[in-house]
């Protein structure tokens, strides 16, 4: 048999994590227009929730490629169910997945310390902040709002990363993620 990097089992668990967090993230999608309308500078908090699939996957498996795979699978599934947003799903997935994967790869998948997850979170915050800043023309906002936006854009992924780490930890305590096991 061709030895592949990720077994079917890891692939499908990644997909399941992507779908399950996506269901919860559906809430985030639903409130996005509201947040954009009511408090555009707080959008980072909502967008940050999209880091969850990759974080939980890495925390559960500690394997190369799981973060990117989880994001891509989640995006493919989401696109199949709701094709209207294909572009958005794939774009976010590739961006977030690549950054989380890249930071893990830089440490050659050896250091799984908490700092590594947060480094990825900050990087995501910076990139996302940049894109949204231009797309939503936030330069037109007053200075305080721009600063608030920047701080929140950075804090969003960090807060959600912390949440993801907590979930991974609790899954482990529940004995679910002990190695990759059969049911």
């Amino acid at each position: 048999m061709t030895r592949t990097l990720l077994s079917t089992r890891v692939l499908l668990v990644c997909a399941a994590l992507g779908v399950a967090t996506g269901l919860l993230g559906g809430v985030a999608g639903a409130i996005t227009p509201l947040v954009l309308a009511a408090a555009p500078w707080a959008y980072g908090l909502v967008l940050g929730s999209h880091v969850l699939p990759g974080i939980i996957a890495q925390q559960v498996f500690r394997l190369p490629l799981v973060a990117l795979t989880t994001h891509v699978l989640a995006a493919l599934v989401a696109s199949a169910v709701n094709p209207a947003w294909i572009g958005r799903f794939l774009g976010t997935a590739l961006l977030f997945g690549a950054i989380q994967e890249g930071v893990a790869a830089l440490t050659r998948y050896r250091a799984w310390g908490v700092w590594r997850f947060f480094a990825a979170a900050l990087l995501i915050g910076v990139v996302v902040a940049g894109v949204v800043f231009f797309a939503a023309d936030l330069a037109a906002l007053p200075l305080w709002a721009q600063i608030a936006y920047l701080v929140i854009a950075l804090a969003g992924p960090v807060v959600w990363t912390a949440a993801g780490l907590g979930v991974g930890e609790r899954l482990r305590r529940a004995g679910v993620a002990r190695g990759v096991r059969a049911g």
């Binding site: 079917t8 399941a16 954009l36 939503a136 906002l141 993620a177």
Partner: protein, 267 residues
């Protein structure tokens, strides 16, 4: 449990766009979308919004619901978001323009409204360009296209196809978990903090069940020789056709022409 259309169904939409490959439909509007992110005027996004709508209405059989989304939903949403963004605009930037509304010491300047509307139109245009692919592509076709044309490993593609079934199943599970926790009286109370605590409590049971289910599906796939060979027999072929190239090139040419004509896009 909403009765969504069967996500596995083959391209439901007939019409010209259905015959263009998914990747072509995704690639064609990309340059325009990238430029739009930086555009600042009202005309450029409106022009591209018009292009997107033209392509969609000519190329796809648009259902009444989708037509409502395109003709009512998106414009309304863009206007609301635009106007409320206008409220946040720094008044120092626009106080040279006429105030349209004054409440006490605070005034809403027409410049702010312009900035807001431009932003709303921009977001709407980016969204509409994405819908060209979104409204006319089925999930399985997208997966097949990424596998056959982008060389995404087929194991990933088929894992995604199998996982489409997870969505309603986990959605139903989440519903049951919510009911169960409600009955047990877990995390009662109102307000955002209680809500966060509640959702937090659903996460572990949901994910634990999801992981177990995924492991079972993986065994069933392995038992049917999934991943045995570097490739597998494909019965549904989805090659990149000349008409895909034509579609992309024409779209790019039109985008370039529009962008040239409308330069400097309010920068």
């Amino acid at each position: 449990m909403t009765a969504v259309a069967d996500p596995y169904a083959d391209a439901a939409a007939r019409g010209l766009l259905a015959r263009i490959g998914p990747l072509a439909k995704l690639a064609a509007p990309l340059p325009a979308m990238a430029v739009l992110v930086f555009a600042r005027d009202l005309v450029t996004p409106l022009a591209f919004l018009a292009v997107a709508y033209l392509v969609i209405f000519v190329g796809a059989r648009v259902s009444a619901r989708v037509a409502a989304l395109l003709l009512l939903g998106i414009p309304t949403g863009a206007a609301v978001i635009g106007l409320s963004l206008g409220l946040w605009v720094d008044s120092d930037l626009v106080d040279g323009t006429d105030p349209v509304l004054s409440v006490g010491a605070w005034s809403l300047y027409s410049g702010a409204v312009d900035v807001g509307l431009a932003t709303g139109a921009r977001l709407a245009a980016i969204l509409a360009l994405g819908l060209i692919a979104g409204l006319t592509t089925s999930g399985p076709d997208l997966v097949r296209a990424t596998v056959q044309q982008l060389r995404v490993p087929y194991r990933i593609g088929y894992a995604a196809l199998a996982a489409i079934r997870f969505v309603p199943r986990f959605g139903y599970e989440l519903e049951v978990i919510r009911q169960a926790h409600r009955v047990r009286g877990a995390h009662g109370g109102r307000g955002p903090f209680a809500a966060v605590a509640r959702w937090w409590g659903y996460l572990v049971p949901l994910l634990a069940g999801a992981i177990r289910h995924a492991e079972r599906v993986a065994l069933a796939m392995d038992a049917r020789a999934f991943g045995a060979h570097p490739d597998r027999t494909e019965r549904h072929l989805l090659p990149w056709r000349p008409r895909d190239t034509v579609f992309v090139l024409v779209f790019w040419a039109v985008s370039a022409a529009l962008l040239t004509a409308l330069f400097p896009w309010g920068l």
